[in-house]
């Protein structure tokens, strides 16, 4: 058969259908049945989502989009906000700083009352000018401290993920308990890893830890054995990996399979929940991770203040998507905080929402207990982080 244009086109279509049939993403069983709450009515409240659905941070963006969709369904099922339905305007900034800035302006023009996103530090910082001009409340899921600090210059900017420094503090607590004083750092060479590295350097300056080796690797690396070799030659008592998938599970595999590293390895909350288990396989056993309680939502005792919030989020999310993500609760809580603030303000005026957020008091979310104030646009404490490990292919709460 001679391959003409049309024959090839037909072949490609067939191949695509075949791939789509067997390659499709694992999707969990259908949506939960709608509850009996009254139907929201009136003009919808528009909330913008400016997230990284493609590009370098797409693993995060995917979780953000899932959490947001799930949340909007739940809220609209339960009567909306102020009796009005919620409409999400989700846009993909392609992990591109410029697009993130432009899309912030576009969302404002489309009349959103608040924006969730951008979801990384560089996209947020690039959009900062647009965010400040927009005057609508904006929740970022970026980890860098300067997104909300100094708060006087960030009147309408909030964030939901713990500061990198808080993750470090939580790890340090456990290290002190084990008598670990010398650590080796392996960070991904991008803004995400950089924020972790900076937090560790700060801890070292405070004299809380000694960093004996700090190596970086590219986000798309296929082998980080050389970096780990370097780190181990400095004799650390523990290795800290600051990265997201696929880098984090790759580092774990290289360490265990190739180098048989026998010191404790700590990962940060970005390492990926079930994704980490899937990608690291057997090698995941015994790895430590500092994480919000969402990862072990079904192991948290009823006595915990977050019990309710975690049950609701954990159940809905895992039922729908079949797995948990370390990033999903940031958007879930950002939207929850916005809903609470709109209800407290009794209006969708952006300024009023911002004021209400600052005076919300305690808000118990899945990520942690938020205590936002005019001085603190995050409001989380590192005590809300837990240490988890992997046993028998499952996340287990250590403490």
């Amino acid at each position: 058969m001679k391959l003409t244009f049309w024959r090839t086109a037909a072949l490609v279509v067939a191949a695509l259908l075949f791939l789509a049939a067997c390659g499709g993403e694992e999707k969990a069983p259908g949506t939960p049945t709608p509850g009996g709450a009254r139907q929201p009515s009136g003009e919808p409240i528009k909330i913008g989502l400016n997230i990284e659905q493609s590009g370098s941070a797409s693993v995060q963006g995917e979780a953000y989009a899932r959490a947001a969709t799930l949340w909007a369904e739940k809220v609209n099922r339960e009567g909306g906000i102020l009796g009005r339905p919620v409409e999400l305007v989700i846009v993909d900034n392609k992990s591109d700083p410029t697009e993130a800035a432009v899309l912030t302006r576009r969302l404002v023009q489309q009349g959103v009352v608040a924006i969730v996103g951008p979801g990384t530090s560089p996209t947020t910082l690039a959009a900062m000018d647009a965010i400040l001009e927009s005057r609508v409340p904006v929740f970022s899921m970026g980890s860098a401290d300067q997104i909300v600090v100094p708060v006087q210059q960030r009147p309408n900017v909030f964030k939901t993920p713990f500061h990198a420094s808080q993750n470090v503090d939580a790890m340090l607590v456990d290290m002190k308990r084990r008598g670990i004083q010398r650590v080796g750092l392996l960070t991904v060479n991008n803004p995400y890893g950089e924020s972790g590295l900076a937090a560790w350097r700060a801890a070292e300056q405070r004299g809380e830890i000694q960093i004996v080796a700090a190596e970086k690797f590219e986000a798309n690396a296929t082998d980080v054995t050389p970096q780990l070799t370097r780190i181990m030659s400095a004799n650390p008592q523990a290795v800290v990996v600051w990265a997201i998938p696929p880098g984090a599970p790759l580092a774990r595999r290289n360490a265990v399979e190739n180098l048989r590293i026998n010191v404790p390895m700590y990962h940060d909350a970005g390492a990926g929940a079930e994704l980490f288990l899937r990608l690291a396989g057997q090698s995941a056993e015994g790895a430590f991770m500092v994480h919000p309680k969402t990862l072990v939502w079904d192991q948290i005792p009823q006595s915990d203040r977050q019990y309710q919030a975690l049950q609701e989020f954990g159940r809905l999310y895992t039922q729908r998507y079949g797995e948990m993500s370390g990033f999903a609760s940031y958007v879930w809580d950002a939207l929850g905080l916005l809903k609470a603030a709109i209800e407290k303000a009794g209006s969708t005026d952006p300024q009023a929402i911002t004021r209400a957020l600052e005076n919300l008091g305690e808000y118990v979310g899945a990520t942690g207990v938020f205590r936002m104030s005019p001085q603190d646009h995050l409001g989380l404490r590192s005590e809300d982080l837990v240490l988890v490990t992997i046993r028998g292919g499952k996340w287990q709460l250590v403490r």
């Binding site: 659905q53 493609s54 370098s56 963006g61 989009a65 989700i90 846009v91 993909d92 392609k94 992990s95 591109d96 700083p97 410029t98 800035a101 432009v102 302006r105 576009r106 023009q109 530090s121 560089p122 910082l125 690039a126 900062m128 000018d129 647009a130 001009e133 860098a144 060479n189 991008n190 803004p191 890893g193 950089e194 924020s195 900076a198």
Partner: protein
């Protein structure tokens, strides 16, 4: 005399007016904002530099975003950290970009074939890595911010509208400069070189030097656009100056057409319309469509445009005008359409 002198001025004033008219159009279209116009103008300026390089030096550059980055980082560092005037910082960026380009050109223009493409690729990537790694200067992966607004005397360019008007004015200045250049001794040398290097050399044109000069000029365009970008976003990080932005400039220039300096703004407009248009339209046809559909649509649209308009939009438009003139029989000049189609880039 008076009329002849003022006619071009009126023409450019009209062109500026066209830019102003784009604003209500963008406002009326649901998927465009004035922020898109800013990006359109900035990318148009940078791509114009690339058009000059590709159209006249006949060389592909895969690292154009690095020069965009040189401008952006120079402005960022000089205005945010040492408080230089934006114009001075912009000039400094342009000089640095030109020098870097000249050095690079000096090395690679001795080579032949696609080596410039490769060398610029390598240069762009090394620049990207340096921006990421030189923490103390550039802020590394975290980028650097706190860049003040662009000011010009009493004027402060702090909104989308003012920034767009500024960028559009700069774009027109860039066009004027390019057209001034092309209709003069050094510009004719460029055009000559672009079509036959051996014949150009035979009338005394130093081909290597001229290529180097046009490469430096292209870098200046990119650098100026980068400086404006820094003032607009007020924050720069390496992500904006890597391989993908370089490819984007390449796409803009090619789609617009490299035979005319008008190609760059045309191409930039098309790329903005394609990205934003697919973002808006695709979800209407495919319910629940997310980012991935837009990317596919964008890629396919790009392929289709190039399949049907291989000389880009400017080339296609020129051809259309010629054909129309021929058809209407109003031709005062012969129409060498065949020759136009046969001009090949080496």
């Amino acid at each position: 005399m008076g009329l002849r002198r003022w006619a071009p001025l009126a023409l450019w004033a009209g062109a500026f007016g066209v830019g102003v008219l784009l604003m209500p159009i963008a406002d009326a279209l649901p998927f465009l904002t004035r922020a898109n116009l800013v990006v359109f103008a900035l990318h148009g300026i940078a791509a114009m530099g690339l058009t000059l390089v590709m159209g006249f030096a006949g060389q592909v550059s895969l690292g154009h975003a690095a020069f965009y980055g040189v401008g952006a980082y120079t402005t960022a560092l000089l205005t945010a950290k040492v408080d230089w005037h934006p114009l001075l910082a912009m000039a400094a960026g342009a000089v640095i970009a030109a020098v870097l380009a000249a050095l690079l050109g000096r090395i690679v223009f001795r080579l032949r074939g696609h080596f410039l493409a490769m060398a610029t690729l390598a240069f762009g990537l090394v620049f990207y890595v340096v921006m990421r790694s030189w923490d103390s200067l550039t802020g590394g992966n975290q980028g650097t911010g706190g860049i003040p607004d662009f000011t010009l005397g009493p004027l402060r360019f702090d909104s989308d509208t003012s920034m767009y008007l500024l960028a559009w004015a700069v774009l027109l200045l860039g066009l004027i400069a390019a057209r001034n250049l092309l209709s003069s001794r050094p510009g004719r040398a460029l055009v000559a070189m672009g079509s036959s290097e051996v014949a150009a050399a035979s009338v005394g044109i130093d081909v290597a030097r001229t290529k180097m000069a046009v490469f430096a000029l292209g870098a200046v365009y990119a650098s100026v656009a980068g400086s404006l970008y820094a003032h607009y976003v007020t924050y720069v990080s390496p992500e904006s100056f890597g391989l993908l932005p370089s490819l984007r400039f390449l796409v803009i220039s090619t789609v617009g057409g490299i035979d005319s300096v008008w190609g760059a703004p045309l191409g930039s407009a098309v790329v903005v319309l394609l990205t934003e248009g697919t973002r808006e339209l695709v979800p209407r046809f495919v319910s629940g469509a997310t980012g991935s559909y837009e990317i596919v649509a964008y890629g396919l649209a790009l392929v289709l445009v190039l399949l049907f308009l291989p000389r880009g939009l400017a080339g296609g438009a020129a051809l259309l005008v010629r054909r129309a003139a021929e058809w209407a029989g109003t031709r005062r000049q012969p129409a060498p359409t065949a020759a136009l189609e046969e001009v090949e880039l080496r």
